[in-house]
Structure formats: structure tokens, C-alpha cells
């Protein structure tokens, strides 16, 4: 039903091109529930926004196709897209309060979505509005349609958003973190509702979330994203049972679980996600991966089949990590710890060179290579410490000029106010 092929979306900022989504390919079948998981900034929301043509300047779809029922959505003009949005594809957002207009009655806002398209006969709209609220289990719907959003609780607002999304009987519902702002008990109710919609009305759902538990409960298939790319994809049981990408594996192991047997130390993922303006060469996960090999620093792995219907973007894969690197028993999760692979030789060389230089030259090298300090923090903290001990001015330079400018700017803003 939906085919996303080699989609790339970038944001053109003053600091450079932020490649938020890179070469993302997946498809969705009618009636399917697909989960897209990843951390903030991994590109999962931007992917959804791209599908709906909602990416705004400075963002832009820079490549690829989005085929919805054999029409390429990237080629449509804004009016044609408007026809599809809310009618065939609907979206619900994370924060139901800021997505509803506070000065309009909830009922009106639901009806408005139906009037905007001609799928529902005009005379049926008011009654359908009430029925929709009933369907999403808002109690006393007849009276509640006349309420304003502030009179609804968080869970009810999200239900109203879902009612609005469903009003034109869309074939695809994209839910972007629909339960993140809600309490667990309310979250469970909303998920139950989405599950029923999928089973009873056959609505396909793309669920975007960072919560792996939510995906496990609702989705049949899952796409895992990291730094703008799909790193793993497959049926939900397979991904949770035998993840093949070290990122998916680490993510699952880093969660405290209510059903865990005994209290043990969490296996955290060290480091931070990469800067999307200048991501590391090779695999984007290499600065944090305990299983990395030399090849990971230089060559970007392709997304390859690693089992029936399961794909992973990794040179090593967990199969090999278990067989050769004792993945089952590792407790040290630092980068390269399991494979024993040190950071790339070039980095070590630069660091070694730095120590022989005089202070002004050190500062110059650091200014030329803004990534270097961050790399040293994660890979060579001891060397960095030594460097700062030798050259106190380096510590001073840790405050970038950019910071100083931003602080001055803030001071001026305040003055002008």
C-alpha cells in the first residue's frame, strides 16, 4: 500500500546540511501495523512528516520516492497532497493539547476534518462526530462534543485527536508518539483502542515511538532507526528475540524490565548519538559499538537480509558477535570492548601528534577539526586529560566562539525587551 524508496530528507541550517533521514526504504501492506523505533533525533518523525509532505523549510526531501497506492507523493503539488492528507492518510501527534485549537469546540474540530473532504455526506457529519467520540470511548459523547479542549483530560484529548484522524475512514493512520505524554494506565487504553481499530476496521497503522514495550504490544513489524538510517527491520518477534544489529541488541539490554529476574546492573550504551551534520565515516554506530571491527570505521554497511524477513545494516551482526566475541557474557559495553578494536589509526595519530605540538599549534589543529574534541572525549579521555594538563589554554578553548556569541545574543535580546 505504501512504499518508501530511498527517501532522504535534509534540513539546511546555517551550520550545514543536517541529514535527518538518509536512504530509508520500507513498505507497508494493507491492514499492517508497523512500528518505527529510535531515539530522539534518529529521523523517525521526519520520515513520517515526509510521507505526509509536512516537512517545512529549511527541511526538504532531497531524494527518493514515496508511493502511496502507486502515486508518488513527493511529486504531488500542495493541493493534491491536501486531498490525501486527512482523507486517505491521517496523522496523530504526540502532544494533544498543542494539536487542538483551544478556542474551538472539540466537536467542531472533528467535523471540520470531515467538511474539508467530500468523503462523508455533509448532512451526516454532526451525527458521525458524536459517534466517533463514542467509538474512541469518550464518555457522555453527546454533551462532550460541545466542550472546549481545556475541559478534556490528556487522555481524552488524545482520543479526540484519534477521532479526528479516523473521521474520514483513512486507510493509513500515522501515530507519532501518541502515548508519550500520557500516564501508563491511559497509555494502555489508547493502545487498546488503536489495536481494535486495526483489527475491526482494517486501518493500517504506522506507530512511531521510542518505547520498545509499546511496539511489542501493538506492532507486527518493526523498523529500528539510528542517526537517520534504518539499522534493522523485521517481524516484531524476531527483532525482540534475536536482534542482529548491535544497536537494537544494546537498546533491548539497556532497559530495566518489570519482569526481570534479579536486580542487576543495566547494560548501558556508552556515548551519544552522532552529530548529523558531520556523522562519523563508515557505520554511524561505530563510536558506540562494543563489537566494531576495522571495516566499520571506513565502510558503511548495507542493509542486508540476516534471516527470514529480517534485515540488518551491520558488518558484524550479533550472530557473529555471539560466536566470536562472547556477546552473551560481556559486561563491559564501552566502544570496541568486546572486539578489542581501537579507534581508527588516523585518530590515534592525530592525538599523538597533538601532544608533540606547541600550544598555539594545538589550538589551531582543534579549531580546524571541530569533531576531534568530541572524539577524544569518547575514545581517548586519558589523552585529552593529558593534553589539557600540558596546555591549560586548551581547557579555555573548550568554550567555543559560538557559545560566546550565543550568550552575548541572549543578553542583547533581554535588553531589547
Amino acid at each position: 500500500m505504501l512504499e518508501v524508496k530511498h527517501l532522504s530528507t535534509s534540513f539546511f541550517t546555517d551550520d550545514g546540511e543536517v541529514k535527518a533521514v538518509r536512504d530509508v526504504t520500507f513498505d507497508l501492506f494493507p491492514g499492517e501495523t508497523l512500528g518505527i523505533v529510535g531515539e530522539s533525533g534518529c529521523g523517525k518523525s521526519v520520515t513520517a512528516m515526509s510521507v505526509l509532505g509536512l516537512v517545512q523549510r529549511p527541511g526538504k526531501i532531497v531524494g527518493g520516492q514515496i508511493l502511496f497506492k502507486d502515486r508518488d507523493l513527493t511529486k504531488l503539488n500542495s493541493e493534491e497532497l491536501r486531498q490525501i492528507r486527512g482523507r486517505d492518510i491521517a496523522m496523530i501527534f504526540q502532544d494533544p493539547l498543542s494539536s487542538l485549537n483551544p478556542v474551538l469546540r472539540v466537536g467542531f474540530q472533528i467535523d471540520e476534518a470531515m467538511f474539508a473532504h467530500d468523503k462523508i455526506a455533509k448532512e451526516d457529519v454532526p451525527e458521525r462526530g458524536v459517534n466517533l467520540l463514542k467509538q474512541v470511548r469518550v464518555p457522555d459523547a453527546q454533551r462532550r462534543v460541545k466542550d472546549y479542549p481545556h475541559q478534556f483530560s490528556g487522555g481524552m484529548r488524545q482520543r479526540a485527536m484519534i477521532a479526528m484522524g479516523l473521521s474520514n475512514r483513512p486507510e493509513l493512520l500515522i501515530a507519532d508518539e501518541p502515548t508519550t505524554a500520557l500516564d501508563v494506565t491511559v497509555q494502555a487504553q489508547i493502545l487498546e483502542l488503536l489495536r481494535d481499530l486495526n483489527q475491526e476496521m482494517g486501518t493500517s497503522i504506522i506507530l512511531i515511538t521510542h518505547n520498545l514495550g509499546v511496539v511489542a504490544g501493538l506492532c507486527k513489524r518493526v523498523v529500528v532507526m539510528y542517526a537517520g538510517e534504518i539499522v534493522e527491520e523485521g517481524p516484531v518477534e524476531q527483532i525482540f528475540e534475536s536482534p542482529q544489529h548491535p544497536y537494537t541488541w544494546s537498546l533491548l539490554r539497556s532497559l530495566p524490565r518489570v519482569d526481570e529476574k534479579r536486580h542487576e546492573r543495566l547494560k548501558s550504551i556508552e556515548g551519544l548519538p552522532p552529530d548529523l551534520i558531520a556523522p562519523p565515516p563508515g557505520c554511524k554506530f561505530n563510536p558506540r559499538c562494543p563489537f566494531r571491527i576495522e571495516k566499520c570505521f571506513s565502510e558503511d554497511p548495507p542493509l542486508e537480509m540476516v534471516g527470514t524477513a529480517q534485515q540488518a545494516k551491520c558488518w558484524v551482526t550479533m550472530k557473529r558477535a555471539y560466536a566470536e566475541m562472547n556477546a552473551a557474557t560481556i559486561t563491559d559495553t564501552r566502544p570496541g570492548a568486546a572486539s578489542g578494536v581501537r579507534p581508527p589509526a588516523e585518530l590515534l595519530q592525530v592525538v599523538a601528534d597533538l601532544r608533540t605540538l606547541e600550544e598555539p599549534e594545538v589550538l589551531e589543529t582543534l579549531a580546524e577539526n571541530p569533531q576531534l574534541l568530541e572524539q577524544m572525549v569518547s575514545e581517548e579521555p586519558a589523552a585529552l586529560e593529558q593534553l589539557v594538563a600540558d596546555h591549560p589554554a586548551v581547557a579555555e578553548k573548550l568554550v567555543t566562539e559560538e557559545t560566546a556569541a550565543a550568550v552575548d545574543g541572549a543578553a542583547e535580546d533581554e535588553k531589547s525587551e
Partner: protein, 341 residues
Amino acid sequence: MSSATLPASTPQAAPAGEPLLRVVDVKKHFNVGVAATVKAVDGVSFEVREGETLGLVGESGCGKSTLGRLVTQLIPVTSGEVVFNGVDLTKLRGERLRQQRKQLQIIFQDPYASLDPRMTIGDIIAEPLMNFGLLRGRQKDAKVQELLKVVGLNPYFNNRYPHEFSGGQRQRIGIARALALNPKLIVCDEPVSALDVSIQAQIINLLEDLQKEFHLTYIFIAHDLSVVRHISERVMVMYLGKVVEVSPSEELYLSQEHPYTKALLSAIPVPDPRIESQRRLIELQGEIPSPINPPSGCRFHTRCPIARAPGICADQEPPLEEKAPGRWAACHFSDEVRTKV
């Protein structure tokens, strides 16, 4: 020493011995509008032993954050006592309260809002030291660098500004600031809920390491029950300003004495599709009632699957009682929770 006798329904910190913190029948009522009060915390008693981690869970609006702020005396109590180290903090004012505060610190939820964007992180961490005039000059700088190291940040980042750091790093800065005065008790108010999954584990591990190293006592407030279970020895569940259950965390997750706890636990999604497909959700009726006008009797009776209403549940407030060793619950029919909910 406090003169008040402990109400019978105070979950004691086991094993015996003088607890570090004892909260006695604490209430906090906020006046809203004319003749309306929000009973955010309404008669809560508990004890925390030195070196323990007490988890505090409940849905938004149950009063857990308010309780955290009452314990640290960031807001004054309406009534009740907060006895810390044998001293009733609610009776102290001015300088004497300020001196006690050294021992009580808090880590906030939002690492973006809790750091002043105009101060360098060195100044942020040094601020508590300056406030108490403890260290100056070189010594102060050395202490700041040591604290940065302790929380896993590069010590030479002390003259950077908060915006240069990610959420997880900012939370580390918040933790370093809380540690600056060598406190005994730290209230962690949702310290990981604003963070990404992979960063959450780093911060939880850090908090656990620090607890061992500095013999800290934590009150850990969170709405994520799996995180609370992981870090806490005992868990206290709140509903509408009242404690409904207190139990050792391992036991609480195996069986529950209060229907609300059971419903809350049944709602947590587990990252395992096989378990998820067999999960039985106990769906609660309706929404949390307003704390301005809470239900009579047991506050949970309007949503409780086993309540006798009309009947004892609507008429009488159940006391918090020890149902089994170390396990406290406020429910008239706790025997039925296991079989009928």
C-alpha cells in the same frame, strides 16, 4: 527530637533502627480560587532508612512531586512533620533550616529548565559551595572538577554553557550540583523520564554507583514502574494524595495488596512480544477524580473493580495497615486483590 507519636499506620523502615527520614501525617493543601483547596498530599506518613532507596510512583497529579518538595522543604507543609536526622524541619526557619538543607538535595526532571543558561556549568556546580561559603578560589575549582569527574563528565568542560550539552549530560550536571554539599538524602524527581532510552541506563547506573560510593539515601520519584523497580528497595504507591501501598519492590511486582497497584502494573508494556500478547490489562473505569473534591471513603472506590459502593468503601477510609510483614496497604478488601481483580 520530635515529640509527636508515630501514627499506627506508618510503614516502618525495616529493619529497626533510627530512620534517616521520618514523615509524619504530612498534608499539603493549595488554595485555588474561592473556598476551594487542592489536597495534593493528604496525610502521608513513612520512614526512610539510611542508605535505602524508596521509590515513589503514581499517575500524574497523585502528589508524588509535591511530596518530594515537602521532604526537601522547598514548599512549607500545611500540617505534619518532616523529621530528618532527628530534627523536625517544619519547625525550623531561616538560617537553621538553610543549614539543614545542605544534607537534603533534589535532582529535577527537566534537565533543560533546571540549569541557568547564562551560567557556566562550573558556576552552576559551584553555586551551592558559594552559598554556604565553603570553598573559594583554587579549592573551589578543584572541587568542581572532581565533581564533574565523579559524574562522568570531562573535568575541563567547566567553563562551557548548558546549551552545549545533551539531555543526559545536563542531567549529570544536575547530579554534580546536588552532590556538591555532600548531602545525605537526595530526592530524585523523575530524573530519567526526559531522557532517551540509551541514556536512561547510563544515568541509572551512575545514580547507583554514587549511592554506593557516598552512602546516599534516595527518594526516587518516577512514573515509569520498571525503572523504579530496578533502582528501589521499597516502593510506595500514591493515589490522589494518599499512600495506597508500600512494599519491598521485588515482592510488590510479584503480588499486590491494593487493586490500584495491580491495575497500574498491568498497564506497563513489556518489551517482549510474546509476553505482550498474553498480557491481561486491568482497565480502570474513567479518569482520576479531581483532588479538589476527592471521593468519600476510599479515594479509589469510584474506579475500583472490587469496591463495595455503596458500602464500606464509599463510607470509610481504609487505614494503611501491615497486611504481611513489610507490606502495607490501604484497602478494605486486600484479601480479594489476588483472586478477584
